[in-house]
Amino acid sequence: MGAALYQLFALGARYLFIILALLVVLRAARSLLHEHHERKKILKKLPDAGKVGELRDIETGSCYPLPREGVLGGGHAADVRIRGLRRRTADVAFVDGKGLLITPCRRGTNIQLDGEDIGRGVYALHNSVLTVGNRRFLVRLFAGLSVPRSVRWQAAAEEELYAPDNRLTEGIVFCPPVYEETGPLPVMNAPVYAPQAYEAPQYEEEEPAEPAFRRRRAEGSYYDAGSYTVQGMDTSVYDPASYTAEEPGYPTEEAVYQPPQYQPEEAVYTPPAYQAEAPVYTPPQENTDTPPRRRRSERWN
């Protein structure tokens, strides 16, 4: 190609290059702004984005959101800022599969987890009690996180699973904590169980009570719920003698469950007043006179 012809092409092409570069810049800028706005919309729908739970002050009830990683302290730059603490008290970091790692920032810091000194670092699980100086905090982690279960949490979870009928509804049973204090989630026509009104049973250092169904299978006899009673509720409808535990989950001909005769004047359900003090759970005792507990899932079969 001649030099003059090439010069013509090159001089014309420079405007093409500028137009294409302008297109690149405009498209990139537009994409950047669009993704930025989309991200903002997504984060508005996820107010707890970046958080793994909260620290709840046991005395005052204040909540402090826990980030995945940060510094716990009283300083301005602390990620979990709790007034009254040292500027940098401890480092917190969530570790998948293990829990919330709490590491003191300096030696001699008075930090305890469930009554024991944390030393160089310890993993806090759900419902652990963190004591910093003279302040006590309850560690609450979101559901769905990959953390092992603590004994306290397992006991509380099983209590919820086997709780009597008048404390459970068809709606959501265990309400997650809501930071904005909007109250429990709405349920269609029954009062909602509010975990904040409920004190977890204070177990001594022992294994949690064996669930009813396991005991039934092991012993081959009916489960005796002990001294647990509920006012206004007729629970003596299950005949344990007719049940044989040979086919787990599938009762035999002999173990045909006889549903009670419907007696509308007797089976009036009166929900308890939730503003009253919460009922205290008494562990079952070996007593044949007490009515048996029923699993939530068997109630309506």
Binding site: A10, A21, V25, E35, R149
Partner: protein, 424 residues
């Protein structure tokens, strides 16, 4: 009714880039009828497609950032190819190495959970690498700064590689609020660079450290105090040693103040004058690809590649390329703001700051805005160390971006899971 499928905006962006480079290389083919230019006219757009479409599927990456990096790297290949086909292929090979470094750094950031144990070895490695140029003095003969290390015919600048370790170490220390340790580390690094008389790189390190200190502490008093102290210290050292150890620095400042006065002297303002003439010769729209005369500028392939670009493509095009650099910095800052952990946020900030400072320092130098230094133009300059270190910095940002997306998915999953404290 069939719904019209909406195309991904990044795919459209890549398409525009492909058209650009096809047209550019085809034009070079028309000039010399060289087969290499024709091969590049198809190879470079294909490479853009492969890296833009295939790579994000294999490794989690920010597509927009990747597209912009690819555009600048391909432009660097084009500019090197325009003056020498062999250097164009070498630049393409260096780009491939840079991609490997980017992927490696991205995976490193995503998968290394704890940097605590690596901090001290990285610090020792940084000091060791920066001390190497004092050992390999022969590689620095004839150069103003003692910043190079030679292995036979190959030379490299250790400070470019130490930049990666520097941002990682500083980000970790400042995420743990170890401000004093960070300042001592910055001081040691700057000490090495000042002794090497590599003041451009020292300015990048100092600026990055300052930005990180402010980002981590939010203390204007501390940052202002350090800035004032540094300015005072530099002034005192300059006044004391300008006629001896820092004579090169003195010459550069004189050349910056009046390059025409020292135009015909050795080590004078010849480079800057030629650069200014080339920029002026290009005008607003450029002389045209293949019609410029940037070969007259010394080091036009490395430090003054941007002058060559302005000569052939014009000031308007150069301004658009500067916009691309700015978009990379803005995207990096956006990724830093989205990060869930302090370490990753500071890491992305450090990489963005280092990248922005390097771009400003070199482009300011060639346009006589600030005194000229020996740093390279990111992604455009010829040289393996330069492109690999810039791609590695981008890899650290890509790793943070990938982690952000993963954590966002986790947050969505947690928001959909009712209850509390449930184990999986």
């Amino acid at each position: 009714m069939k719904q019209k499928k909406r195309r991904n905006p990044i795919d459209l962006l890549t398409g525009v880039m492909q058209v650009f480079f096809f047209a550019a290389f085809f034009l070079l083919f028309l000039k010399d009828w060289s087969v290499e230019a024709l091969v590049m006219a198809f190879a470079v757009p294909a490479l853009l497609y492969l890296t833009g479409a295939v790579l994000p599927r294999l490794f989690p990456m920010d597509k927009l950032l990747l597209a912009l990096i690819n555009f600048l790297c391909a432009l660097g290949i084009l500019l090197q190819f325009r003056y020498s086909a062999s250097r164009g292929f070498t630049q393409a090979f260096n780009y491939a190495l840079g991609l490997v470094a980017m992927i490696g750094c991205s995976l490193m950031v995503r998968h290394i959970r704890s940097w605590k144990l690596l901090t001290v070895p990285m610090m020792l490695a940084s000091c060791g690498l920066l001390a190497l140029p004092f050992v390999f003095r022969a590689a620095n003969a004839g150069k103003g700064a003692t910043a190079w290390v030679g292995f036979g015919s190959m030379t490299m600048q250790p400070s470019e590689l130490v930049k990666i370790l520097y941002v990682l170490i500083l980000s970790f220390l400042l995420s743990r609020r170890r401000v004093v340790t960070s300042m001592i580390f910055i001081g040691v690094m700057l000490g090495f660079l000042v002794l090497q008389r590599d003041l451009g790189t020292a300015a990048i390190y100092a600026g990055t450290g300052l930005v990180l200190l402010y980002a981590a502490t939010h203390s204007k008093l501390l940052t202002g105090g350090i800035l004032a102290g540094a300015a005072g210290g530099i002034s005192v050292m300059y006044l004391l040693f300008r006629d001896s150890y820092f004579l090169t620095v003195q010459n550069r400042i004189n050349n910056w103040l009046d390059p025409f006065a020292t135009y015909d002297k050795l080590g004078g303002g010849y480079q800057i004058v030629q650069s200014l003439i080339a920029i002026a010769n290009g005008g607003w729209w450029g002389t045209g690809l293949g019609l410029g005369s940037a070969e007259m500028i010394p080091e036009f392939r490395t430090d003054f590649i941007f002058s060559a670009l302005m000569n052939e493509f014009g000031l308007v095009f150069a301004a658009l390329i500067l916009c691309v650099y700015m978009l990379i910095v803005l995207r990096s800052a956006d990724i830093a703001l989205r990060s869930a952990s302090a370490f990753h946020a500071l890491l992305s900030t450090a990489c963005a700051a280092a990248f922005a400072l390097q771009t400003f320092i070199i482009i300011g130098g060639i346009t006589k805005l600030i005194p000229m230094t020996g740093v390279t133009v990111p992604f455009l300059s010829y040289g393996g160390t330069s492109i690999v270190s810039c791609m590695a910095l981008m890899g650290l940002i890509q790793g943070t971006a990938g982690l952000n997306e993963h954590l966002l998915k986790e947050d969505r999953r947690l928001a959909d899971t009712p209850g509390e404290g449930a184990a999986l």
